[in-house]
Amino acid sequence: MVKPMVNRHIELKVTSDAANLAAVRKAVETFAATTGLSESAVNDLGLCVNETLANIIRHAYEGRTDGPIELRVEAHDDRVLIFIRDWGSGVDPSSVPQEPYDPLKPGGVGLMCIRQLMDEISYTPQPDGMLTVMSKRRT
């Protein structure tokens, strides 16, 4: 059922409401699965999209529920690419000094997931927010 599909893509626009996390995650996971990405890679992608959006909601938008978030998911031969644009604080998470990870203290799990599970992650500050790009390779 899976055709090798370059350039298939979907786009989503949502507001920064945590209630939207599951809908976005499932759209991304289901789309990625139909491009032939393995189940475990699909799960990784879904979790990292969730974590990135949760950080945008909690940190970049400081809990505001009406901030715009746009996503574009692209299927490529060798990987699935995700672009996430927000119009929040524009703070680059990779530039925020992090405490060494302590499993018994709250925080730090989200970025750790993204770093461990994604093959690429980049934050490109925009004049009015942030562009986050992540990718997961096909093997």
């Binding site: 945590a18 799960n43 879904g46 979790l47 969730n50 909690r58 018994l104 203290k105 750790m112 997931c113």
Partner: protein, 110 residues
């Protein structure tokens, strides 16, 4: 996300159900903290068999519960983990901090 809760000796066994993300974790947090305040159990057994997915906000709730139980000298057992939940606990390096066992019975007889 109303958990099924039962007590057995010094253990409180709660079964959670559904995907838990930043949207639903505040409710799970409230439920668990209320439970702990009420019972102060020596053993908290969380059956996660019906939780196919959780994110880091759910992990934070589990850790907060763990801290409370530990304060009163107790332990937290996680049972019936689905693969995605297990994977996340491993990434968060919590798989050796919680006592992870296959089923409720394994937690109760420890």
């Amino acid at each position: 996300m109303v958990p099924t809760v039962r007590q057995q000796d010094d253990a409180v066994i709660a079964s959670l159900a559904g995907e838990i993300d930043l949207h639903s974790s505040p409710e799970v947090r409230k439920v668990l903290l209320d439970l702990l305040a009420k019972h102060q159990p020596k053993k908290l057994v969380l059956n996660l068999g019906d939780v196919p997915y959780m994110d880091s906000s759910a992990i934070a709730v589990l850790v907060e519960s763990l801290q409370k139980v530990r304060k009163s000298g107790g332990k937290v057992y996680l049972t019936n983990l689905q693969p995605r939940v297990k994977g996340l606990l491993e990434i968060a390096r919590l798989d050796t901090i919680f006592v992870i066992v296959p089923g409720e019975a394994d937690a109760l007889k420890k």
